[in-house]
């Protein structure tokens, strides 16, 4: 189960070690390489507490500790009684503090959290729920919650209060109800099955009539209880749809269950004929199980959506009584002044009142580089402040923000998503009509020809025609295919996505972060005649060493040995320094920033790159072009999909020239400078032309597109809202997984077709034979169970698909 590390990965968080050097942490007496001081601190903490079993047992990596999240001031806020009361629950002598802990990636994380928290004085018990990311701490009334919060932060996890959510509570209740129903169905199936083995053996070698009757009499109440308790959901949903005049799969399931049970009860009371108690309980159990597996995948999707609302910082710095204080976000009103530190997310739509910074708006625009902001400009909730600290006046609270509006659009787009499962239901509608017609015809014929055989021939028809196998055919194959994908690096968020993925004939790719890496690379350098490319890059690297701007990271691997002094980073503009050797002032950065000291510099060569200028006093030295690197494997994925005769295109929010550069490399059609709703409209045009559309994206700006596409794939690290919309999430940014996914989808489709073919074939050949009175009811019952079993076993073959 445990993860395997290679030498370039951080021992703690699994990230790639920075080229600029690594830290070490001693774990079990061995010095391990880690990527940052944060990871080193957590690893040391775990080692000191003798909990290093964590590293051997984990099946996934813990989060990389974020220094911005680890703030004792935030932990202190949890001691504030009035705020704590908004989510904590009190019981006599102990307080229950429910927390949402982000970054719990596997059971080992849950274990280590429980162990650390249990060591805190005053903690009475800790209960973690891994699937929900929830930790409930029971505290003695006098113990401060802040200790527990700061321990969690020290371990590198993000902590937020857990607020009761109606959807989550509903899901929780439903989960328990389903488990009860499945459990009862299982017990019933085993017990009734045991009795019927005796009955079947008895019909072969002879059985005492009284004993036979006893076995049937005890099977009957057990089956009836399972029918009422566990199969209730089928009857309810069939009835709901019947009232609207719609026949669905559940209608035929209910009908089959009712008829088989009625016939069995009738034979038991009469003391003759066949009983089908074992088939009924088995069918209920398998169908419930298959549906439960599907539902659990959907539930994870919901958890993501609920967590999304809490992605913004829970506490913000605001000015209260002339002092800066951390206060809960929901107490902020329009017009309040808040301060956003470097690296923090902005929680409101607001206007900058003081400070200059750069704000990463990739969530809206898809552009990798941040936008410079100055006093008077507007910033949006959900964007990240990457430069210096900012003071803002709140204009709109989160609920009215642009981010919330986008989230609303996404919900709406989701509603327009074409549903592929419905096909089975349409099929069921026709199928059930056919069964009823043939059963009535059989009944009428035998009433005229031979009234004594009428009842049993009719029941044989209904039992043979029972669509058990048919209703299991698709869910069983999907459950199996989804399980296979989960083991091969693709997280599955919707149960029917595989069917659409197999049917897709048109794919829309986002550019930034999907086809390309988020990290820029140096693509070209244009210099004046007096300076070599090498010299220009050397200057640039030496200046950029001081900057944390995303573009500066591209320079961190280059030799930087120019001797400079007084280097200063000018936020949202560039870097300035003085060359020790020549005494010249150097500037590196945006065009306007450089033109200030070198008015004669030429304009940038083109628009298809991000250009950075390098100038000295009065002289232009160089233009350095940064461009986006294609992700490893992107080209082969595109080529492969083309070979499968899919239509491919790029839709990006970025500028036309930059999109064209990438599109030309991959030889794909493209459209650029699109807003999220433009993308959505373009998608709907494709769908109206009759295409089944696959969307691949990562940004928040792709979320409406992904919500409405027939099937969608998010690249890991994508915005949470985009991930929540996606049918599949690819782990580790391995874009080749799209091909794996496509193969799994094809295989699943093949198995589903085989299953449907077999099930329909069985029913179609069985019904005429039964109608002629050639099938004794006990053979019909065995056939019914065997065909269901065969469908399930056939689906299990998917697990052996080669990776």
């Amino acid at each position: 189960m445990s993860v395997s590390l290679d030498e370039t990965q951080c021992f703690h968080c699994g990230d790639t070690l920075p080229d600029s050097g690594f830290f070490t942490a001693e774990v079990d007496g061995v010095a391990q390489r880690v990527c940052c001081a944060g990871c080193a601190a957590v690893a040391t903490l775990i080692d000191r507490a003798a909990m290093t079993a964590f590293y051997r047992q984990r099946s996934d990596y813990p989060p990389r500790p974020d220094a911005a999240l680890n703030d004792d001031a935030i932990a202190q806020c949890y001691d504030e009684p009035s705020w704590l009361a908004t989510f904590a629950e009190g019981e006599a002598g102990c307080r229950q503090i429910p927390l949402m802990v982000t970054g719990m990636s596997c059971a080992a994380c849950a274990w280590i959290i429980e162990r650390f928290l249990n060591d805190i004085p005053g903690v009475q018990s800790v209960h973690t729920q891994l699937t929900l990311g929830k930790v409930v701490i029971s505290l003695a009334p006098d113990a401060p919650p802040s200790r527990a919060v700061s321990v969690l932060q020290d371990l590198g996890y993000g902590v937020q209060p857990w607020r009761a959510d109606a959807r989550m509570q509903h899901m929780h209740a439903e989960n328990r109800r389903d488990l009860r129903r499945i459990g009862i169905a299982f017990l019933g199936m085993m017990q009734v099955g045991m009795f019927s083995i005796a009955l079947h053996a008895g019909s072969l070698q002879g059985i005492d009539a009284d004993l036979k009757q006893l076995l049937r009499l005890v099977s009957m109440p057990l089956t009836l209880f399972v029918l009422v308790y566990s199969a209730r959901g089928f009857f309810e949903s069939a009835w709901q749809h019947m009232k609207k005049g719609v026949l669905i799969m559940d209608t035929s399931v209910s009908l089959a269950l009712l008829l088989a049970t009625t016939a069995s009860v009738a034979s038991t009371l009469r003391g003759g004929g066949e009983t089908y108690f074992d088939s009924v309980t088995m069918f209920i159990f398998f169908l419930l199980l298959a549906r439960y597996i599907e539902k659990r995948l959907r539930d994870r999707d919901l958890i993501q959506l609920v967590q999304l609302a809490d992605q913004l910082p829970e506490f913000v710095m605001t000015l209260r009584d002339t002092q800066w204080q951390r206060v809960p976000r929901h107490t902020i009103e329009k017009g309040d002044t808040v301060r956003v530190l470097t690296g923090e997310a902005i929680a409101f739509d607001a206007c900058v009142t003081s400070g200059c910074s750069s704000v990463n708006e990739q969530v809206f625009t898809g552009e990798a580089l941040p936008r410079g902001v100055h006093p008077g400009e507007r910033v949006y909730a959900g964007t990240i402040n990457e430069g210096a600290g900012l003071e803002l006046t709140v204009e709109r609270r989160f609920v009215d923000s642009r981010l919330a509006a986008l989230a609303g659009d996404v919900e709406q787009a989701r509603g327009d998503k074409p549903v592929h499962m419905k096909l089975v239901d349409q099929f069921a509608g026709r199928f059930i009509g056919l069964i009823l017609a043939s059963a009535s015809a059989t009944c009428l014929y035998w009433l005229v020809a031979d009234p004594t055989r009428a009842l049993w021939s009719t029941i044989a028809v209904l039992v043979v025609a029972c669509p058990c196998a048919l209703s299991l055919a698709t869910p069983a194959a999907l459950a199996s295919g989804n399980a296979w994908l989960l083991r091969h690096g693709v997280r599955v968020r919707s149960e029917s996505g595989l069917l659409a993925a197999a049917a897709a004939d048109h794919a829309i790719f986002d550019k930034t972060g999907t086809l390309t890496e988020t990290q820029l690379i140096i693509d070209a350098v244009v210099t004046n005649d007096n300076i070599t490319v090498q010299q220009a890059l050397n200057y640039a690297a030496s200046l950029q060493r001081f900057s944390h701007h995303p573009a500066a990271r591209s320079f961190h691997d280059l030799a930087a040995d120019a001797s400079l002094r007084d280097v200063e980073v000018v936020t949202a503009s560039g870097v300035e320094g003085w060359d020790n050797r020549t005494g010249d002032r150097l500037r590196l950065g945006s065009e306007s920033f450089c033109r200030d000291i070198a008015a004669s510099m030429p304009v940038k060569p083109d628009d298809s790159h991000y250009w950075i200028a390098l100038v000295s006093d009065r002289h232009w030295l160089a233009w350095i072009a940064l461009s986006e690197a294609l992700r490893d494997g992107a080209a082969s994925v595109i080529e492969n999909l083309k070979a499968q005769s899919m239509n491919l295109e790029i839709m990006s929010g970025d500028t036309e020239a930059r999109v064209r550069a990438i599109a030309r490399t991959l030889d794909m059609p493209f459209s650029a400078a699109l807003q999220p709703d433009d993308k959505l409209r373009a998608l709907q045009e494709r769908q109206q032309e009759g295409h089944t559309v696959l969307a691949v994206g990562d940004g928040l700006n792709d979320a409406p597109l992904m919500g409405a596409a027939d099937v969608s794939i998010a690249v890991a690290g994508a915005a949470a809202l985009a991930q929540a919309q996606a049918d599949f999430v690819i782990e580790d940014g391995r874009i080749e997984s799209i091909l794996t996914l496509r193969r799994a989808a094809m295989a699943t489709q093949r198995i589903t077709r085989q299953n449907l073919f077999w099930a329909a074939g069985y029913n179609l050949t069985g019904v005429p034979l039964a109608a002629m009175g050639l099938v004794p009811p006990w053979i019909a019952a065995i056939g019914m169970s065997a065909s269901s079993l065969l469908v399930v076993l056939n689906a299990l073959r998917l697990r052996r698909l080669a990776p």
């Binding site: 699937t131 009860r180 459990g183 009795f195």
Partner: protein, 59 residues
């Protein structure tokens, strides 16, 4: 074969008992986290108290 007339009703009593136990444990939340608890039960390494080691210098 007469014993079956006694044994089968006893089996029924057991089924009822087990069904009641199952419902009770689900309602108590014992099956709320299928992933975590399934994993914990199988890992002997993590169930015991932390072993004191030489570098355990906490007090």
């Amino acid at each position: 074969m007469e014993s079956l007339y006694l044994l089968i009703p006893i089996a029924l009593v057991f089924v009822v008992l087990v069904a009641w136990l199952l419902i009770w444990s689900v309602n108590r939340g014992q099956y709320d986290d299928l992933d975590n608890d399934a994993w914990k039960a199988l890992n002997d390494d993590l169930t015991g108290a932390p072993q004191k080691t030489d570098n355990d210098d906490r007090n």
